[in-house]
Amino acid sequence: MTALAILNGRLIDPAAGIDELKDVLLIDGRVAEIAATGKLKGKNGAQVLEAKGMVVAPGLIDIHVHLREPGQAYKETIATGTAAAAAGGFTSVAAMPNTTPVNDSPEVTRWMQAPERGAHVRVFPIAAATRGSKGEALSDYAALKSAGAVAVTDDGRPILKDSIMRETLAAAARVGLTVIQHAEDTRMTQGASMNLGPVSFKLGLRGMPPEAETSIVERDIRLVAELKDAHPHLHVAHISTAEALTAVRQARRNGLRVTCEIAPHHFLLTDEHVGLYNTHAKMNPPLRSDKDREAMIEGLLDGVIDAIATDHAPHAMHEKEVEFELAPNGITGLETALGLSLRWLHREWRMPLGRVLSLLSAQPAALLGLKGRGTLTVGSFADVVVFDPKVEWTYRATESQSKAKNTPFDGWQMQGKVRWTVSEGKIAFASA
């Protein structure tokens, strides 16, 4: 039996409606007891983590990461990516299928979860919606689900054909899987490397029009409405434009199961941050206008955005040290999501701490139906983050646990320092 007692912390468990000083006892990977402070001291010979002045919360859940394995271990491995996750307070990550080979099979799905990968936190594979993510023939959703896949997507290679997207939504609904769409009409974004607007014009870069995102979101919502009786769940990945968010808001009012997530860079940065061809500000969807960024914050505050997900996309240094148009899309995000969310959403824009944490744990768990995660009620998985909410610190990319250093947040002020990350009862990360 292994036991951990987290004592004297402020337990915030949004799903359970708890925000008070509590002691938490974890035994054999599960939450064994929640008690008033002082009651659990030394019980069962547990190892004690003294959390006075700290927040104790369900481990964070990132439903959009790229761990690059199998196939691109020079960028990141499941071991290094999940080490970064643990350092950022995450205890579960959902890994995208754009690996080599594409994860469209139960074999790859199982391979990613095998103990040999050396994951520091729980990895939930998201499988390809179509074979090879080619957008033509559906993969075997029932088999993928029983192998452990929690959703399907062709992330990065969005499903453009209406008929295929309709089949995907219907087939996923039959087995109870969420369909995640990276909404981009790639016919409108050929050769483009940033948001279309005055900044892209000035820099002489071809731009991606916001309509490329909006039109796919609207098309997908239309298909969900047509399939209403089958109750499909459409989840819009990394939403970035005001118009797409409006479409999601309207779909929700119409009673459709349409959800969305946002990446921290889309509520913090704009296309102005591309500066003079900073490839660490290149990702897809691109950084948008200030009007879009404000709409994203409004969406977070009014609740239409369901989750914060990082789109952690590690790349090797030499891949980003090239001409802007040749650089691959993506930035890392696992180590900065909590610090930025607390600094900006909570401190600056006054979102209650419990709601910030809910966006990072309870809500993403609910989106993908991760049972026993995102809450610390007795019997749940012993996935816990303990952080000091008062500490301000500066993020340094060079100190990252990830193999990659491609972040626009190098040198940024963070709020809240992770002290311990506990994954299924084991300490996955401890800071000095």
């Binding site: 050929q190 050769g191 279309l196 607007g197 005055p198 892209s200 014009f201 000035k202 820099l203 002489g204 870069l205 071809r206 509520f267 913090l268 940065l269 704009t270 102005e272 941050h273 500066g275 003079l276 061809y277 960024r293 404000e294 914050i297 409004e298 505050l301 009014d302 609740g303 369901d306 030499h318 040290e321 090239v322 001409e323 802007f324 148009e325 040749l326 900006w344 600056e348 824009w349 006054r350 709601r355 809910s358 809500q363 940024w412």
Partner: protein
């Protein structure tokens, strides 16, 4: 989860984009925005002085200094004029082009730049096919880099030579510039603005010396955002209406190599935007006609206008020599003042041949 909208409106601001660290080297000329109006003025004055200088004296200004010309795109005017200008100042030049170098084997811009530096290059003139190439090269080599055209972005020496040409015709006898030197002057830029680095550099430079820039072209080649990319820039889509208001007319080539699948009816284009002798005589009989070249006779401009009395196209080419002498002198003189080594690169700078330096 909580559908209640916040009752109190808050300022939803985040930190602005950080200030640019460019240029790292004070001798660099990456964008016309790197130059203050005073510096533009000094370059124009210096260009005239260098042009009139005794060739033997001039030959000592950059004697034996090493300038590399790194060209990723074909070029006649720009390459030759940089080379001749460098030689007129006594510098040694070497040309590296993408078609006869290790670039063909996949060597990156960064590695090519570091290689040239290790070979003793003291400044690099870069023509690059991607926007922003000059910034990447400067950041990685920390040498003075002169942007000789980067993708669809900028071509600062072209804008300077265009300014010199416009001054010769509209402000004869005036050598320097101030923020109001071209007050009351409308310069129209016509055609493929979207793909034009010449247009972008001129749009940013000319309003800073008082000119009004009027952009003209069809929507496909001139997006509305263009007018929002800086002060003093307006759009007039009617060619003849624009022509009537302009004292300088800058025609641009349709960049077929950058159209990327765009559908454009060239006959329609000619009917609407070709500069013909008739239009010029009727609407702008005194305007000076410019074109950065290469010109496509019978497309954006008729042969008659290109060779006509109002054309300054060949003067532009000649002015390029004088401007580029001044820009290269600035690049290598400024370099003596500050030198930032690239932190990522630990290799020692190449030894210079003593006694060879002026």
């Amino acid at each position: 989860m909580n559908p209640a909208a916040p009752t109190i409106r808050r300022a939803l601001t985040t930190p602005p984009a950080p200030a640019s660290a460019f240029p790292y080297n004070p001798g660099s000329l990456l964008s016309v925005l790197d130059l203050s109006v005073d510096e533009v003025s000094r370059l124009l004055v210096r260009a005239t002085e260098l042009e009139n200088e005794d060739p033997i004296t001039r030959d000592r200004i950059l004697a034996k200094r090493r300038i590399a010309l790194l060209f990723y795109e074909s070029s006649t005017r720009t390459r030759t004029s940089f080379e001749l200008a460098a030689k007129a100042l006594g510098a040694d030049t070497t040309l590296v082009s993408n078609l006869s170098s290790s670039i063909e084997k996949g060597e990156s811009l960064k590695d090519t730049g570091l290689t040239l530096r290790a070979l003793g290059a003291e400044a690099i003139i870069l023509r690059h096919n991607f926007s922003g190439g000059a910034w990447l090269l400067e950041e990685t080599t920390r040498l003075p880099v002169i942007n000789a055209g980067d993708g669809m972005h900028e071509h600062p020496t072209q804008a300077l030579l265009d300014l010199r040409t416009i001054m010769t015709h509209l402000r004869p006898g005036v050598s320097g510039v101030k923020p109001d030197t071209l007050a009351g002057v409308t310069v129209m830029i016509v055609g493929d603005i979207l793909h034009s680095r010449v247009a972008r550099s001129n749009m940013q430079l000319l309003p800073r010396v008082g000119a009004r820039v009027l952009l003209c072209g069809p929507k496909e080649l001139l997006p509305e955002q263009a007018a929002r990319s800086g002060p003093g820039i307006e759009i007039e889509r009617d060619f003849e209406a624009a022509l009537k208001q302009s004292q300088a007319v800058m025609m641009l080539r349709i960049q077929a190599e950058r159209l990327a699948g765009m559908q454009l009816d060239l006959e329609d284009y000619k009917a609407s935007y070709q500069l013909t002798g008739q239009r010029l005589a009727a609407l702008a009989p005194k305007a000076v006609v410019l074109h950065p070249g290469p010109i496509i006779r019978g497309m954006e401009i008729t042969a008659g206008v290109a060779d006509g009395a109002q054309s300054a196209i060949l003067e532009q080419v000649t002015n390029g020599l004088a401007i580029r002498m001044a820009v290269m002198e600035r690049a290598l003189k400024a370099e003596n003042e500050v030198r930032n080594e690239a932190p990522a690169d630990k290799s020692p700078p190449a030894k210079r041949i003593k006694g060879g330096r002026a």
